[in-house]
Every structure is written in C-alpha cells, then in structure tokens.
Point group: C2
Chain length 277, copies 2
DNA sequence: ATCATCGTTCCGGCTCCCGGAACGGACGAA
DNA sequence: TTCGTCCGTTCCGGGAGCCGGAACGATGAT
C-alpha cells in the first residue's frame, strides 16, 4: 500500500528565499555552515537554507575540495580551515574592528558589563566583536548575531548618526513588531527620540528587544562623518539599573569617541607597511 | 569500511586560476576581498583572482546585494557587514578556537612572545588566532596567514601527531623549496625528526621559514587523538634564544595540553562518535 | 585638449547548473 | 532477525543563466 507522502501543510513558515543564482545559494550554505551547532548534517543544512538536498550536497563537495568545509564521518560537515582563515583575515583586516577591540576591553573592565561593537546591515545591526566579563552566566548577545535597528541601543545610536530621511526610510511606515511590552512600535516615535540621542550622545534600550535586558550605545563615525558602527554595553536590568545609566552613558559615549577619533586620525587605508604576502 | 582518507595535498593556486565553477570563482573573489589592503579596486581583484573583469563585477554585484560586500565611491569594494558577521560567527562557533583564546593570552603573558593557534589545510598551516604582546614592532605572523607544514613549528607539531604514512604523503617525495639557508629541504629528514618531536612534546623551528625568526609549537588533539591544530609562540632569535627553548618548550606543550584536555572533556558540541573505537 | 585607464553595460552562444528520482547503507523497532 | 524509515549519495536529461569579448562613458593624468 503506497504510503501517502507527508505533504502536510507546514506549520512553520517556509523561510527559504529562493536564491536565483548559484552564488547566492553558496552564500546561504556557507552562512548555515558557520552556525554554532556544528557539526551539521546534510538534511539540516538543506532544511535551513530551503535548498534541495542534491544542490546542497554539490555545494558542500565544492567547498570541501577548496578547503572551506570538511566532511566528517557519517556525512556531516563543518567549517573548514580555509573558511576559518578567511574569517580571521576578514576580522583582522577591518580597521574599525582592530581599533575597537582594546577600547571594548577597557570599557568592559571599567563598567563590568559586556561591551560590543556592531555594524549596520540594512535595517539590522550585526554584532561583530565583543568583550565579555567572566561572570556572564547567560550571554544576552552572540557574536555574529543580528538585531533590528528599531529595538536596540546600537540601532538607535546608528540611526541617530544618519540623515533623518535615511533613518525614516530604514524604519519604514508600518507598525513594527513588538519584542516585549516596552518595544517602541511606532516608527514616528523612534524618529522623534533620535534628537535626544544626538544631544546626549548615547542611546538607551530599556527592554525594547528582550525582557530584563538593558543596553547603552553610541555611534562610531568614520571619515566624513560616515557611520562606521556603534559601541555598546549590555546587561541585565537589575545590575545595569536606571541610576547607573547616567554615569555609564558618558563612558560609552567616550569609548565610541575614542574609536571614531582613531578611525579618522591614525591608520588610513594604507598606513602600515606590510611584509610580503 | 570506506574511511575518508581524503588528504588532498596540493592547494596552491596561481594567478591563472583554474576555477571551473561559479562557486569557486565566488570563493576566490571573497578571499581577495578580505585581504588587508582594503578598499579594493575592481581591476586589482580581477588581477589577483585571474578572472575576467566582467565576471568579477557580476560577482561583486551579487555580493553587494546580499550585504557581503559594500561598494564605495569610485567603484571600489570592501568586505560588507554580512561578511564580517559570518566571520565573527565562524570564529565564535569553533570550539577549539574558543577554548584556545584564554590559553593563548596566558601563554603570551608568561612567555612574553606572540602566541598563536593554527589549523591544517592540506600541506599548509593556517593561523587562525593569536595573542600579541604590545611590544611587537614587526609582526612576523598575520591572522589568516599561511605557512607550509614542512618549514614551521606548528607544521612539524601537527605532522608529529599524524600517522607516519599520512605525514609522508603530505611532505611528498620531491625536495622542498628553501626559505632560508637553514630550511630542511629533505622530506625524509623532516620525517626522521618527528619521533624526537613526539618524545619531547614540542617542535622547534630554527629559522626554517624566515631569517632571525624562531618558533616553538605543540599539537592540539581532539577526541580520538584527531589533530585539531597546534599552539605555538614566535619570536626573533635574539629574544627567543636557544637557552630559553628548554624552558619555553614545556610551557608551550602544557598550553597545548590544556586546550586538548578542554576539547575532549567539557564542551563537546554533542558526543556523536563516542562509541567509535 | 588628448589619451590611457577604469568601471560598467550589453548580448548571443552554449556550458554546466539544476533537482526529481533512484540506490544502498545505517539505524531503530518489532 | 526482519522490516521499515530516513539519510547521504549518485545519476542524468533539459534548459536556465553564466560567460567574457567588445563597446561606452567617466575620470584623472599629462
């Protein structure tokens, strides 16, 4: 008796975003491959990317031949040495990142909170590096993670340093999804808050994205006042309480200013003499 | 049992890249895009990858649409936010890397030399992360950089932890190119030195790769004695002198042992092949 | 003003990418 | 042990879309 193929209506919305070109598919697989829950099985990668199984398999084979993925026993894959090398090179080559790191360490030491540096990708912020206190028993922030601009301190900070029309366009006209009961859902309200952020020099996220989590951030500006990213600290509300915001805010603002100044001043695109290769 | 004995040896590619598929070309462009001398002009990327100009342009356009590259004024490109996020995610997801970092910091503090962690990609070692002393006036090692196994301390360390046949295959039969006057060019001589490395627990590179540079390294072993990488220190010969090798060597060996133990013990992503004998 | 160089666009040819279907092995349940 | 299920892998014919030489406009140096 032929079993009916399980074609039940998926309860989960299909996120697949059918990429048109092979390069987009390759990027999708790479993105899935570096996710923290390694090693990855072929079926999982196919499900996550929404690509057909043979397609993912072929891409993984290509990656493996180039050293960007390494196949394990039982047909599971993980990030390969060349991918790790690429990642290390990319992070080392980013001048803002290289300059931000020591500032983040200093900021973490002086505030006791997790300090991080994020950059903007469209309407979301990507956390690129961070300095964690040893006492973090639960990490409210993951490296490489993303958070919408409208509900994060780093997001508001970067929005505040953008021209108003650009900020308005990024926020859109529709009501924004609520993450907590305190999320500011009205784009107009977010826009109205930006002048205050500009005046103070730092933005505060009061449980906008997650319950019991507060954050403070300030924008980092590169040459020509271009927004390069944002520096911020994150903590639970009962350690990063309302009173401390008044003293921590200026510290965050100063840290961001330090990075901005370093970006403008010292090391231009080619300030250093590199060895060969 | 078909064991994956895939030990691809050659991975060196020259400007006339023989990339057959579009995915390989995309990887080549990505690799060129993260190189330290940003921003990159289209013609440079085309020259570096050996690909035709329109092809590179099309790939960059695809990358830009996905946020993996960002076009600057005047038609130059640099790594985009998604690429930085991917890099951060990849490095954060690697358990060996996460475990190695604090050990490297400690090793650097106690030895005063640059400490680094490298993994193997075919017949070369890739430097994945490092902890630099502040006094480094010239960096003899770059993040994401590569060095052949046969002429580096980390290379010898990883070779020593491999089965002899595998090590022999990686070294090949031909005489190896000389990097300095002290480079060991005979594959047989390298193989003959490995038992000593195994016995002492660390390898020493006496100006094999570069003049006036000495290095010490020890292998890091994961579950099942699989080679996960190597921990090493690098310094100039007149600060990292011959007498200090005897005291620094065991420290490097101990550091590598710490990482190995942590890899085996604590935070295995999920113990899959625990029963495999 | 003139030219070399670069980034960008165009377009016809035909490569080789695509993914449904099938196969064999691994694992768990009965 | 046997059966059923699921997974990784391979195959293959059709046609989607990749390819790159050639051309065009912008830019900066001479």
């Amino acid at each position: 008796m032929p079993k009916p193929v399980n074609t039940s209506v998926s309860r989960r919305e299909e996120p697949p975003a059918a990429s048109t070109g092979p390069v987009d598919k390759a990027l999708a697989v790479l993105d899935a491959l570096v996710q923290p829950d390694a090693p990855h099985r072929l079926a999982d990668l196919a499900a996550r990317t929404g690509l057909p199984k043979p397609t993912v398999h072929r891409l993984l084979h290509t990656f493996a031949e180039a050293g960007y993925a390494v196949p394990g026993p039982g047909g599971n894959y993980q990030a390969g040495p060349r991918l790790l090398g690429l990642a290390a090179t990319a992070l080392a080559a980013s001048s803002e990142l290289r300059l931000a790191r020591p500032v983040l360490d200093d900021l973490r030491l002086r505030t006791g909170h997790l300090a991080h540096f994020s950059v903007r990708d469209g309407a979301v912020a990507v956390h690129v590096t961070q300095s964690e206190p040893s006492s973090t028993y639960r990490m409210p922030l993951t490296a490489g993670g993303e958070v919408p601009l409208y509900c994060s301190a780093v997001g508001w900070a970067m929005l505040s340093a953008l021209p108003s029309p650009a900020a308005a366009e990024l926020l859109g006209g529709e009501p924004l999804p609520a993450r907590t009961s305190r999320t500011v859902r009205d784009p107009g309200a977010v826009l109205a808050a930006l002048p205050t952020v500009r005046e103070r020099g730092y933005a505060v996220d009061d449980e906008y994205a997650e319950q019991d989590v507060r954050a403070i951030a300030a924008p980092v500006l590169g040459p020509g006042d271009r927004v390069a990213g944002a520096v911020g600290i994150v903590g639970l509300t009962f350690t990063l309480d309302e009173e401390s915001v008044a003293v921590l805010g200026p510290m965050v603002r100063a840290a961001a200013g330090t990075v901005s100044a370093a970006l403008r001043g010292g090391t231009g695109p080619l300030g250093i003499v590199r060895g060969q290769e």
